[in-house]
Amino acid sequence: MPRQSKMNQVKRWFVHNLVTIQEDLQDSILGINAKLESIKQHGNITSSQRIKIHSDTVFENFINSLKITYPGIWKLIGENCAKGAALAYSHDTNNLVSNSEIRDFGENFPEFLKEFESVKHLKYLKDYATLEWLRYRSYQAPNVQIAKLQNIQSAFEHSCIGSYKISFNKSAFFLKSEYPLIDIQSLLDNPDSGNISLKKQESFVAICRVHKKVETLFTEKQIWIFLRALSEGKTIGTAMEIFTQDNVSNQISKAIGLMLEKQMISKITK
């Protein structure tokens, strides 16, 4: 070992500044590397036993947080498997967040499940987890003013309606899946309803908070594409291009009706 490096090690042993102490404690708690020389010995209880109290709390809190965000995943794969996945997820520091982003903890869990050995054969799991993540985000979304019906009606009576844009309520999210998420939802709501079909069948979902409750709306493909285009900032005219000429007014009425009923529109602007 080079002399300088050896000197640094000796120095490190004697001089524990706060940065080093906090780094060591964090590593020990996360199980990365146990450096326990700063812990004062008292009685017969070892430093590892004392540190374990913090490790248990930290990982229990991570697991509970994921369980709250992903209740359906917990039911679909069972408590033990879900806990195992959550624990593995929490051990990867890339998945951890800062204190100002604590509400974002768990965002990568759907992607993680896709690769998690014990459940990666359940192809639909990632999409169902994404649905749960969006519901969680919708529940937490800031309250915003909903556009007045009068303003929306007058905009739609305007001859240049095609150039208008719609700002969505921040609780509105859109998700597309290759799997029948509605069937998975039914199974979770009613466990006696049957088995999940693994057959690919597209789902088009809108999630939004209406009257203080998060709703999951399974919509028609064209309506979903229209809403999604609007949510991405496209004008009503551009978004309308999805509809074929023979059903355009019917489909637009349906889509607008849905947005109004579910209080999705926060602003309509030219």
């Binding site: 500044n17 700063s38 430093s47 913090h54 800062s98 204190n99 509400r103 979304a141």
Partner: protein, 288 residues
């Protein structure tokens, strides 16, 4: 008689029942981090509760002991919440949770020495300047002490609070379990704290975890009724510090609201008894 001084930690499962029943309680405390999004049903409920009750915002995420400093984004979110709630107190812990940008959901201990003093002072002052008000600092529950400590916890707090002008939230359960885990006198700790700092008291339940045949650690679990020794320490505290806002914390295995309120009634009883004794000069106030 002291209803206005007695509060409870109000948690999500009880928010709507609390709104409906409007229990006779002086104030409520909520965890700031649960409301930082300023949205959702729970936040709406909190705004409604605020119309009838003073609210204290109790944080678990400021990480005032982080050597890397306080998180400005977190402070900004807290600032927005304070604007909406107008809390009568804001508190966090003598602990840290963030290192290298990673938040660990626990209140981690710190050595009590000059370097920590400097870090806490800087972070608390920055926080108070940003929020334009005093914050309270809660004494931690600890499972070990550091070889680098050069002060006792009470000494450290007295110096820190003098330097920063922050107040103290005394958690008597934390004093009790830390004293057992680390072998110091809980009673002496109460004696050593400068009474001028105490602005709020927490009481809560704890659990015991056996770590070997003969040894156990006392855990700050907030999952049960307050134990008799902790009530005794509370009694001693109000004798020494006077009647300050006091509340029950219950965060795990949360029982019916009525159970938490009946624990809060015990605080009222302790306060009333302390008053009656203090009002009768012929009677000696027993604080031990």
């Amino acid at each position: 008689m002291h209803d206005h001084l007695v509060g409870i930690g109000l948690r999500s499962p009880h928010l709507f029942q609390f709104i409906d029943e409007k229990p006779n309680i002086g104030w409520v405390e909520v965890h700031s981090e649960n409301y930082l999004s300023l949205g959702g049903n729970d936040f709406e409920a909190l705004l409604q509760i605020r119309k009838n009750y003073p609210i204290s915002l109790h944080g678990i995420g400021m990480s005032l002991g982080s050597s890397s400093g306080v998180c400005h984004k977190h402070l900004s979110q807290l600032e927005d919440l304070i604007k909406d709630i107008d809390p009568f107190m804001i508190s966090d812990h003598l602990s840290w949770s963030v290192n290298n940008g990673i938040f660990l959901p626990d209140l981690l201990p710190t050595p009590f020495n000059d370097e920590s003093l400097e870090v806490f002072s800087r972070n608390i002052s920055e926080t108070q300047n940003r929020l334009k008000r005093q914050i309270l600092l809660e004494n931690p529950s600890t499972y070990f002490e550091f070889t680098e400590s050069t002060y006792s916890e009470a000494e450290f707090l007295n110096i820190l609070l003098t330097k920063t002008g922050a107040g103290m939230l005394l958690d008597v359960n934390n004093v009790y379990i830390s004293s057992l885990n680390n072998g110091f006198s809980a009673s002496q700790y109460i004696d050593d704290i400068n009474p001028n700092f105490i602005k709020e008291i927490h009481v809560s339940g704890h659990s015991v975890k056996k770590v070997s045949e003969n040894d156990a650690l006392y855990i700050d679990s907030h999952d049960s009724k307050v134990s008799a020794p902790v009530w005794n320490l509370y009694k001693k505290s109000i004798c020494k510090f006077g009647k300050v806002p006091s509340m029950i914390e219950w965060d795990v295995n949360i029982p019916k609201l009525s159970v938490i309120l009946s624990e809060a009634d015990k605080i009222k009883t302790y306060m009333d008894n302390a008053t009656s004794k203090q009002d009768e000069p012929s009677q000696e106030v027993v604080c031990a």
